[in-house]
Amino acid sequence: MRRVVITGRGVVSPLGNTMGEAFNAARLGCSAVSPLRGEIAKRLLAPLAATAEFDAQTHFDPARLRMLDRSSQFAIVAARSALSEAQLEPNAAESDRVGVFVGTGMGGSLSMDEGYQTLYGEQSDRIKPMLVLMGMHNASAAWIAMEHAFCGPSLTYSTACSSSAVALGEAWLRIARGELLAAVAGGAEAPLSLGSLKAWEALHTLAKIDPTCASASCKPFSRDRSGMVLGEGSAIVVLEDRERALARGAQIYGELLGYGLTTDTSHITRPSVPGQAAAMRAALASAQLQPADIDSISAHGTGTQANDVTETAAIKEVFGARAKHIPISATKSVHGHLIGAAGALEFVLSIEALRCGIALPTMHLQTSDPACDLDYVPNSARPNAAGRTMLSNSFAFGGTNAVLAFRSP
């Protein structure tokens, strides 16, 4: 197997649109969760979200912009940042060995929601001609491939909340097997339409507004947690064959070592300890690591009742008594749940945390749930200078558990 390294990173996120901004906000625990305003807020029981500050007009000309759902806008801009940092520049002979792998749970749902509003709300039969292109799940991957003339596989993964972790893992596999030289991989999501928010609300998964501080409403592993907060954005990395990266003198930010993937078959939404534990074990095996090699974990950590208890139990099952000594970070507490982009955002934040020798904090954690009794790095970042190797968990409705194993360069 070939070794696979990260040579570029790009984000459009609630925490900022550069790696520096996003990482600093995560490090300092600056929450991007805030109340929604306007008409949409009146229709929601708890109008909260983590929105990205993003001016699309500065990135796209009007004709192109009219073809792009907000999720694709995020993905394209994040990919540009990652590729600019990586300076990948494959030659013509290499271009069909560079692929694009994007995860998204809801694709162009924001555009589709607007289309439905036209059709059903306004009773108009005139739908925008570009709606199919905006709504299709593979739009982001297609636009990135076209913009950079990457002629290898352009693939889209939709496994709900683990979509981008799957995209990263599948890209890793192809480079590790020697099929590709490099890949642009990650996820994008723009789920903050009334339709999506109401759908998530109907599932009773969304957090209540914290009465004293709305930005503290997402409280993973806390006794008073009440659910997740939806977020939007994209995180994209350039994965590259290590030999190629070294040969061209590229800056290496980390190494993706392996990837575990399992499916719960017990329930469409309820997470399962055996399934999550099996995914972590599969990631360790794929990376040729032992549990003792893991220095910290980026938790799926949604702040829902079911996830946090189950994930805690699964970590204990894999790591045994040592589980209590592993720093576990749940950064969704500050950037919300980006659904199909969540795993990729948590991956790039974790890679940077390893590089900086810290464990990122889980914010808004004053008192842990008694069933969540591990070290979640509550409320402030912690030095973790000896930390070299991490797991990042992403668990999804539909039962797709994806775990990435990686280390600092």
Binding site: D61, P62, A63, R66, R126, K128, P129, M130, L133
Partner: protein, 98 residues
């Protein structure tokens, strides 16, 4: 009031950043940067701006002059249809009494 050509030129400048000088009657849409998708979107905009309904049947529209002629034809057909409707409304009722 600007004529159809001038209004179309303004749309092309606004929505597709086409330089006004490039919009001539003979200009092809490909040369103005509009492919088949762009033309489909332009027809949608034309429906909004000119208050016409574009046929769902294929129409051969290659140049600016083609589209100007097509819009003018749709507007003329609407005027004719309105005139017919008005004349019917004002015609004496010739229905036989029951």
């Amino acid at each position: 009031m600007p004529n159809t050509f001038e209004r179309l030129r303004a749309i092309l400048e606004r929505d597709y950043s086409v330089a006004p000088d490039a919009v001539t009657p003979d200009a092809g849409f490909e040369s103005l940067g509009l492919d088949s998708l762009g033309l489909a979107e332009l027809l949608f905009t034309i429906e909004d701006e000119f208050k016409v309904t574009v046929s769902r049947d294929p129409v051969e529209l290659n140049t600016v002059a083609d589209v100007v002629g097509y819009i003018d034809g749709l507007i003329a057909a609407q005027v004719d249809a309105l005139a017919d409707a008005n004349s019917l409304a004002s015609a004496p009722n010739l229905e036989p009494r029951a």
